[in-house]
Assembly symmetry: C2
Homo-oligomer: 109 residues x 2
Amino acid sequence: MSLIATTPKPPYYCVVFTSEMTVENDGYVTMAQRMVELAEQQQGFLGMESAREQVGLTVSYWQSLEAIKVWKQNAEHLEAQKLGKKKWYSSFALRIAKVERDYSFKAPS
Amino acid sequence: MSLIATTPKPPYYCVVFTSEMTVENDGYVTMAQRMVELAEQQQGFLGMESAREQVGLTVSYWQSLEAIKVWKQNAEHLEAQKLGKKKWYSSFALRIAKVERDYSFKAPS
């Protein structure tokens, strides 16, 4: 299975979350996994891509701004956001963007 | 220095490039470094963030769609795109999106 999200024809939305972590990562992996699981259950969730080296990049895709707003306000997610700021992230940027065009490629096998 | 891009107030644009690589990575690192160097010289380039694990994620930020278009057509970049499809990438998705809102956080030190 490809780890690249399969998304519908634009327009749709993406949330680009870029983070740098503190040395304190206790509980982080469990919480991050739970947030993926929970995001996948949200109405309007389209997919997610993620990688971490010196920075972590997570891009999630959504049908609408409304869906992003509902997810942002999810109670369990709010708790994770609070812990993220308190413990895990030394800095982050979050950007909400409207995907206007996309293009994909698959090598012939 | 933070590896999180410092961007102006929205609106601006981002290009989300998500890729899976083949086993053939000969020449890839040199080319990728050159493309970063070259992108940074482009008019309207605002910053870039990147991480690779199972997938590679590179998000670059731009002042306008026009700046993205000029970069896409850059001769050296065209050559890299061709090699990418021929050798390095088994699949990729490229998404162009307009950043409408952003938010950043820095932990108190």
